[in-house]
Structure formats: C-alpha cells, structure tokens
Symmetry: D2
Subunit: 262 residues, 4 copies
Amino acid sequence: MHTAQPDDLALLVGRDRKSFIVRLKPGSQLHTHRGVLSHDDLIGASWGTQLSTHLGYPFLFLRPSTDDLVRDLKRTTQIIYPKDAGYILMKMRVAPGSRVVEAGTGSGGLALVFAQAVSPNGRVYSYEVRPEMQELARKNLAQLGLADFVDFKQRDIAEGFDECDADALFLDLPNPWDYLVQAHSALSGGGFFGCILPTTNQVSCLIGALEEADFGLIEVEELFLRPYKTVPARLRPMDRMVAHTGYLVFARALVPLETSSQ
Amino acid sequence: MHTAQPDDLALLVGRDRKSFIVRLKPGSQLHTHRGVLSHDDLIGASWGTQLSTHLGYPFLFLRPSTDDLVRDLKRTTQIIYPKDAGYILMKMRVAPGSRVVEAGTGSGGLALVFAQAVSPNGRVYSYEVRPEMQELARKNLAQLGLADFVDFKQRDIAEGFDECDADALFLDLPNPWDYLVQAHSALSGGGFFGCILPTTNQVSCLIGALEEADFGLIEVEELFLRPYKTVPARLRPMDRMVAHTGYLVFARALVPLETSSQ
Amino acid sequence: MHTAQPDDLALLVGRDRKSFIVRLKPGSQLHTHRGVLSHDDLIGASWGTQLSTHLGYPFLFLRPSTDDLVRDLKRTTQIIYPKDAGYILMKMRVAPGSRVVEAGTGSGGLALVFAQAVSPNGRVYSYEVRPEMQELARKNLAQLGLADFVDFKQRDIAEGFDECDADALFLDLPNPWDYLVQAHSALSGGGFFGCILPTTNQVSCLIGALEEADFGLIEVEELFLRPYKTVPARLRPMDRMVAHTGYLVFARALVPLETSSQ
Amino acid sequence: MHTAQPDDLALLVGRDRKSFIVRLKPGSQLHTHRGVLSHDDLIGASWGTQLSTHLGYPFLFLRPSTDDLVRDLKRTTQIIYPKDAGYILMKMRVAPGSRVVEAGTGSGGLALVFAQAVSPNGRVYSYEVRPEMQELARKNLAQLGLADFVDFKQRDIAEGFDECDADALFLDLPNPWDYLVQAHSALSGGGFFGCILPTTNQVSCLIGALEEADFGLIEVEELFLRPYKTVPARLRPMDRMVAHTGYLVFARALVPLETSSQ
C-alpha cells in the first residue's frame, strides 16, 4: 500500500529533525511542538509526502525504520543501540523461525529487534524479574504490533529457564556469570550465547566463567558508530559521538565429551 | 533437532580456529588440513560436540552464524562486513516480508543477509550486470538454501529496475549517483535508500546528488569493529583491526509536493 | 623549588574538578565559584598540597601541564587539541632549537606548544592577518611567559613569509593550498610541512596541490582520544567523546632535480 | 645548514617508501636493498634532494622526524608509539629544562623522546634492571647524539630512585603498582605521574593503588591513529590500522595534609 492505513506505524519528522512515531487510529490526534496533526488526515495520505500541522509546520510522513523504533521506545533503562542489535543478529543467526531466549527484558529494545527478526514463525522468550519493567516492555511491543511473537515471563532466572532447545540466548544484566548453568541448559547443543556488558571488569569475569561452564569460541568485540555531517562540499565527522555502549561477548554452548552421544 | 540432518549447514572449527562450512550430503567427504571427515559420520551427530578427523584432529561441530556464512562465501569481490550488514537491516527495516532491491549483486554477501532476513514471505531483487558474477552469487545462495528468496536479474540498471514499490533499495557499486532516478522509481513513497562507498569523494558526490533527486533525511555513518583478546586476566584489544570497510549512506525517497496525491 | 614563587603559573583544581590557572602576583586575588584565594597565600605554599578558599572550599595546588594550559587559553577560535599538538611535535621534529613558522596564529594554542618545545634557543614565527586575533595570542603567550620565543607578524601570507630556512612550517587556515609556493620558499630543503583541516574536501584539495608544489612523502592521519572512567572495579570508557578535531596532513618540501645543486 | 654535515642524522627514503636512517661518517657506506650510497657523497648534498645509489635507484635525502627516529630504533621490546609519546609530553609538561625519571628504559624509545624534549638544560634519569637492555638503549641514544641528556641507571627500582624532586616520572613496566611509594618519593610535590599498560586488568589494579598512594587527578585515556590513503580523488582510510598500543594512565603526586608544611 502506498497510502497509510489504520494501525500502520508512522514516523513524522519535522524540518528541525524532531520526530514522532504513532500508530494510526481513526479519531486520534498527534500533538507536536509545532501544532496538531489529525490521524484521520494521516490515514490515506501517501508515504513519503510532506504534511502540515494546523499551524502550517511541515512534517515528512514516513514508515519508521527499526532504528527509529528502538530510539523512540519508552524507556526507564539503558536501551540497546541499533548498531549493537544488528550485529547481534548477525553473530547469533537470529532469523525468521529462530527461537530466542533473552533476560532481562528491560524496556524491550532488544525484544523488539528479536521479535521482528524471528517473525512470523519464530519466537522470543523474554525473562524479567521486575514486574513494572516487564509491563513497560509488553506495552512497548504491543504498541508496535510485535507482542504476539514474544512470551514475557516474570521470573528470577536463577530458577532456570523453561526452554531447553533455544537457538540463541542473550543476557543483558549485570552479573551474567551467575546464570551460565541455566543458560547452557536452555540452549540447544552448540547454541549461540551473547551478552552486553558496560565494564571491562565484568567482561573479564564473564569470559573466565564461560570457559568453566562448557562454552567455547568466546569472542569479545565492541562497535563504534561515527556519524558525519552531510554537507557535500564540507564532508566531515560530527563533533561528538557516543564513545561506549557496551562490550559484546559471544560464545557457543558446547556439549562436553562425557555427555555427548554420537 | 539436536542432531544434524542431511542438507543442514554445518560449521567445523579446528583447535587452531581454522573453520569449514559444508552442506551435509550422504556419501560426501570434507577434506581438512588435518584429515578427513565423512558427512555420513556428521549426519546424526549432536550439534555442539567435538568430532575427530581420521587423523584424530578434533573439530567443534556447530551450526554457522550469519557472520560465519558471510565470511565463508566464495568471492571475487570485496564482501560486505557483517557489522555493516546488520546495521543496514536496522536502518532500512529489512525484516520478514520486506521487498528489497539491490545492485550490484557481487558475490552475493548482502543478498545472503537480505534473503535470510526477509524470508519466508519477503523477496530480494538482485541486479548484476556481469553474468559470471551473477552466476557465482546464485551458486553461493543456492548452496545456503537461500536462492528461493532471491530474483537474480542480469541487467545494466541504467535501464531501470522492474520494481516500483520496493520497501528498500541498496546500491553497492562505485557510481550510485548515476542511478538515483531509477532507484527513486523502484522505491515506494518514503522507501529506504542505502549505499556503501569506500571513498570520501564518492560520499560527497552521492549526498549532493541525493538532495537533487528527491531524497531526504540523508545520513552518513561508519562503523568500527574492535576485537579483543579473550584472556580473562589480560583483557585487551587485539593488536590490529580493520580500519575501514566503507561509509554507509542512508536516505528516504520523498514524494515532491507537485506529484503527491492525497 | 617545591614552594610556589611569584610569577609561577599555578593550577587550582576544586573537588568538582573545576579548575583555574593563574600567574602568581603579590597582592592579587583569585575569585573562584567557591570563594577567594589570595595570591599572597599561594606564594610560598607547597606544590601538591590542598589549600582552601575563604569559604573553606578545598583546591589542589599544582603546576599546570601543557594540556591544562592549552585548554585554559582565552580563545575566540577553535583551539588545537593537545593530542594533535603532541603528535605534530613528533612528526615535524619540533624540538629545542627548531625554527618553526606557523599561520594563522589564531588564539595562540599551537604557538604556545611550539614556543615551549623550541625554547630556549629556537624560535617561532607566527603569522596572523587579523590584528585583534594576534593581540589575543600575544597576550595569551605573554601571560604564560612564552612570548619571548615568538615573533608575531601581522600579515597576509599571500605576500610570502620573511623566513627562507625554517625547519618546519604549519598552516592552520581553511585554504592552505593557496599558500604552498610561499610555504615551500619559507622552508629549508626537505623541511617539514604540516596542516590541520576539518573536512575531507579540503584534504583532497590540499594533497592534490602538494603533489604539484614539490612536496613529497604526503601523509594524512587522524587521532581519536578515548577517555575512561577511573573507577577500578568498573573500568569503562566515558559515555561520549570528541569524534573529530581535524585531519592532520604532513609532507616534506622537496628540492626538484633541476634546481638542486650537488 | 642546507647541506648535510658529518655527524648529521640522515633519512633516505626509496621510491618504495623503504627507508634508512644513518649518522653521516666520512668513509662509510650505506648498503640498501637497491644499491650502495657512499657517505662521502651524502656529506655536502642538499637536504630535500633526490640522490641515487650506484645502481641508479633514487632515494630522497632528508632529516628524520622524531617519528622516524622512534620507528627506526633497534629494539628487543615493544616500542612506544609516537602518537602516545607526543601526548605524554603534553600531559606531563615535559619541556626544555624538565627533570624526568623513567623506568624501565627498554630499547630507549621514550628516553629518546624525553631526552630531545628536555634538552639542552633538562635531564632524563632512566632506570632499567636488565643490563643488556640498558646497553642497547645507551647505544641507540648515543647513535642519535642524545645520550648526553640521559643518566642511565641499572637498578631494580624496588630499591627506590635516587631523585627526590623530579618534575615528571613515567613507568613503562608490567607492575607499576609495586613501585608507587618509590615513585611518589622521587617526584616533587604535585609532580606528574604517567604509565602505559596493555591490559584493562592492569589499569584497574593501578588506579586502585594510585588512590591509596597519595596520587590524585587520575586519568585513563587511549589514542587511536587512523592513517589515510593519499590519493586526492579517492581519499579513504587505510584498510587496516593498529588497534591498540596501550592505555595511558596519568596522575599527580599529592602532598597529604598531615605532611604538608605551609
């Protein structure tokens, strides 16, 4: 469809690059810093056009990217950055049909990326111990139409995961080394393990623990994203950039010799 | 399945981290630098276990990640790096169901990532002017079981694309500014445009041309991947890293006021 | 001397890391955001101790580093960053006894670093076309006791430099390609040429012009400085960093075959 | 002098960028991979010209930069990189007249940079426990005419330094935390402390120890150097770069309240 339909997600970007993401509902209104847009006017409008608020301020009318969706998420925690999320998909082969476990859910940023990537026939099992956090993530994904692909489970993962044959498992919590036995049990043989950690001390602690918990092929990497100013005759990097989001740790769940059956 | 089946893709990693990717075929053999593994022995083996060649050299037996698949691709051209491919998915919302156009196909690295991401119900339209290159990409994707999601088209894209309502379009060729009219026609209103370029001169040329060809929200970014040595008590970056793969350029296809119909 | 003397430069760093640099003068006062310090109390105080304002707020009493001096400089222009200035010294062998030409002077940041590095027997020739800028730089260097090592010259360098045998010449201005003949004339045979430029377009323009103006061994480099948080148990990079200060271009002034006399 | 004199240091750079550094001695010969150059022909030649070997292969004839000298040093250890050395000068105000202590000497790379920067009236005190290493560094600096500015001391610094009023002290050894009492005693009040370490574990250990040993204003930083290809119409970073040389740690030696005398 080249025109917007009810329930579509829409991104509106003002000339000042301030942007809004909404799910189109007949009768609703979007209140911007530069006037009001009626959803009824947006529904049926052509994607890629310029629309105006009641004050005449122009907005571009677009479908949001995954990057846009993640950055727009209502959050009470540090959100995963799209540069890291995209790389995680590549390193853990999260693809349509994958069964992926993650903990903790947080605001749901990574659950969003995973849910979209494994749909329509895969599934995300997302664990979170804090009920209010889980509720926020559930609302965030419902708003994006992605909640159907996620099982939200409120639980302390020290008690273990329900799954035993996941393709991939990602931990986004401060003490992943405390849950490696549980993680290993949740993964299928050779399954993909991933983690993001802010400090070098945590990374040292985790990779030591991974070696002792039958994980192998450990990798630690970090990604820098450097944005440029887009003036053709004066191409140059932006003045400032994010210097650190987290260290990414990847490993594979190995089946020790004594327990493997060939 | 926690044991390997015929037609499964398998990754074998030696103690020296040298690795092989094969598609399991009854009766076939894998000849490594440290002896032979029979596919018949691999079929039925448990994922995540350690197997040995006829010379007794041990290999880990794993499913490959997307990163592994891309790096293993038979190539005669520079291949897209997984750090860039994953980010492209995020910025252009390439997801199950997406209809994505790309040119040129090259060795098929990005086609692989796109095909996997849009399956089972999306589609990739991949254009390449050089027949021998197209043939290589086709074989590469067939080997990975992903060719069914790709339409390979051998054509000079100066003649235009067949599509007119693509969600996203990516150009990986040295003179993208020469094809912006064709690219705009292939995209749906507001569609995602992306490009990777090695030099700053090309980036300046492209972003100037994008502005004049009804594209908006132009972004230029680059990603650095910094790998670390994984010794817990001596955590440190590797000595050397890839310094440059390419500048990523993203934009949106806008519908000019005069042509938009609401 | 382990106690401060009149005319010494002093750095005062508060608990909040807010800092002040002063030249000690009997009878003067330093007004901080947390109270007053009398120079008479500072003179005679031991370096490295903690002193208090009349409000009891503690400040560390230290000699400033070159980094501190550059960052504290009164400026109306972008100042050179110490990471770049230090590397320029290495690449252009600016050392005691060197004769160095620079243009434009700007606020005097690089003049400060050069003057200090070439003292006591070298000399800096610093050209600036804007009189008010030159006056600012002159005051800045006088305040630091370094003005005696610098000849400030107010002139449009299109008219040429007075020097003809400089060891090194650095241009910090937007159109260095317009002054390469003048620069070559100012340098001794094989002399060091350097430049800092913000955009890639300028770099392309300059390196093309250098090749045609009898310069050789051209190098383009950039430096990133990544700061870390200094909590031993939670070592990690800062959240944000400077993404770009400038591209450094270095070359050597060659003597063409027809003009060389062996 | 615009012509080379006996005892001058000369850099010869071939068309293939392979380079040689020699100290000119009447009667000596330089044997390159492309033929021989007689020192007698080099003495009296103009700097910046092109000279030829007896086989007719051309070399540029130049004075070496500090960067060239450090990279050319005969070494049996990891050498300091000029990007780090230059920044160390800025952060520790190593300048003409400074009195600088360093340990261990290693191959003398940092001693070279310090000696040149503090000359003619400053002094470097360089400690090394391994006699053969000290001998190598001494020869390296003598060859460069810089040995007169360095006191080489063969000693285990656990026994302490002879100096008690140094302006700056730099440790380039794997366990700096074991020598902080000695380092503090060697420094004047508020003196500059610096260190370079390869691993994050060492950095954590050092910054914890610094806090307990009366050091303050601790900073941890690292520098990346990104080189570019210098083709004007195809400006782009090199394909690969050095990913890590070391973490730089800086601090100031504080005088605790109980021991300070004002």
